[in-house]
């Protein structure tokens, strides 16, 4: 059995990826809470984690559950308001999103998760499917649809902008 690393090494190695994933799935506002709850839960369970486990996939699985909890809690707290865009300043006059984070936040939940876990955390679709449910092919389709939607709603790089004008 490989010797288990001090938990500090887990935070140092995976902290940034998990934060990117949390931001992608939840948006910036709730990402810090999700990150904190994820690593606290991971610390609690860490001594029992098998020495050969895929630590990043394990962390993403925990983060996925925490994100669901946070979203549910937010929905319970929410007070209905007349239609109001979440972040009006981040949209341009033509309705396209000014930044990629906003575009990502506009994706359906499953697409967002598939994009985050596959492209940001680098998990194979098989592992993504194990976290979000469904088959590996379905996870692949969700990620592909997500990327296609992102390309539609996000105008892209500054170079592309200049050419369009």
């Amino acid at each position: 059995m490989t010797a288990k690393q001090p938990f500090e090494a887990v935070v140092a190695r995976h902290g940034a990826t998990v934060l990117r994933v949390c931001r992608a799935v939840l948006g910036r506002g709730d990402a810090d809470d999700a990150w904190s709850e994820t690593f606290l839960a991971a610390l609690r369970a860490y001594p029992e984690l098998p020495g050969d486990a895929n630590v990043e996939a394990w962390l993403v699985t925990i983060a996925h559950r925490k994100a669901i909890d946070i979203t549910r809690a937010a929905r319970r707290r929410a007070i209905p308001v007349a239609e109001m865009p979440e972040n009006p300043s981040a949209q341009r006059a033509d309705g396209r999103d000014l930044d990629l984070a906003t575009a990502l936040a506009g994706l359906p939940r499953k697409q967002r998760a598939a994009v985050a876990y596959h492209y940001l955390a680098g998990m194979p679709y098989q592992d993504v499917a194990a976290v979000i449910g469904g088959s590996a092919d379905a996870a692949r389709r969700s990620a592909a649809d997500g990327i296609a939607n992102l390309r539609k709603s996000y105008p892209g790089t500054a170079a592309g902008e200049g050419a369009a004008r």
Binding site: E8, L19, R20, L40, L43
Partner: protein, 205 residues
């Protein structure tokens, strides 16, 4: 999806706001505080710059459990702690505040004994018995390996005293540097002979 498509997506995603060191460091600190509050921070550690190089200080909830010289390889020391005590280890300086300030004072010549809760769980059996007698050797004094063996109740276990000193998990604080050979030569030291000499000279000043 082809590999080049994958890399085009990666390029697209670089437009997401970057995760900064400051973001992560704030989250790390918050984690250390909540872990300690929930009783899950089994081992907290920090480093401390001293005239003998950077020391690693680690503490359990019971007390200071490990002081390590840089020559011992701090990463290796932490991995051993993970195996022998618990892998729930975080860089969390707060628990080491008192230890760090007492060690600072010691190196500044302003402190002659340590008043800290200690956790000797990295040392067992006779070695632990030896370590518990070392603070009896006062600041600025020395004792021979044989004298320490006698004090620990096993006058013939001179070699074992040498091993206990060489594996002292709390050098500086538990003063194994005050144990020398019968002929007056320093004998070995886990921090190296120069470190032992420096500590004895500091205490003789």
């Amino acid at each position: 999806m082809t590999a080049s498509d994958e890399s085009a997506v990666q390029d697209l995603l670089t437009a997401l706001p970057a995760v900064t060191e400051a973001d992560l460091s704030a989250l790390h600190d918050r984690l250390a505080v909540s872990a300690a509050a929930e009783g899950m921070l089994d081992v907290a550690y920090r480093t401390l710059d001293t005239p003998l190089g950077t020391l690693l200080l680690a503490a359990t909830e019971q007390g200071l459990v490990r002081v390590a010289y840089a020559t011992e390889d701090h990463d290796k020391v932490l991995t051993t702690i993970a195996k022998r005590i618990s892998p729930r280890i975080l860089h969390a300086p707060r628990r080491l505040d008192l230890a760090a300030s007492e060690i600072d004072e010691y190196f500044a010549g302003q402190r002659r004994s340590f008043d800290l809760p200690l956790d000797l769980s990295l040392s067992t059996g006779f070695r632990r018995a030896v370590l518990s007698h070392l603070p009896d050797i006062g600041y600025g004094h020395t004792a021979t390996y044989a004298a320490v063996a006698a004090a620990a109740g096993s006058p013939r276990a001179v070699r074992a005293v040498g091993t206990a000193c060489a594996t002292n998990p709390l050098p500086v604080v538990v003063p194994c540097h005050r144990v020398i050979r019968a002929d007056g030569s320093f004998g070995g030291y886990l921090g190296g002979p120069a470190a032992k000499r420096a500590l004895l000279e500091l205490e003789a000043a």
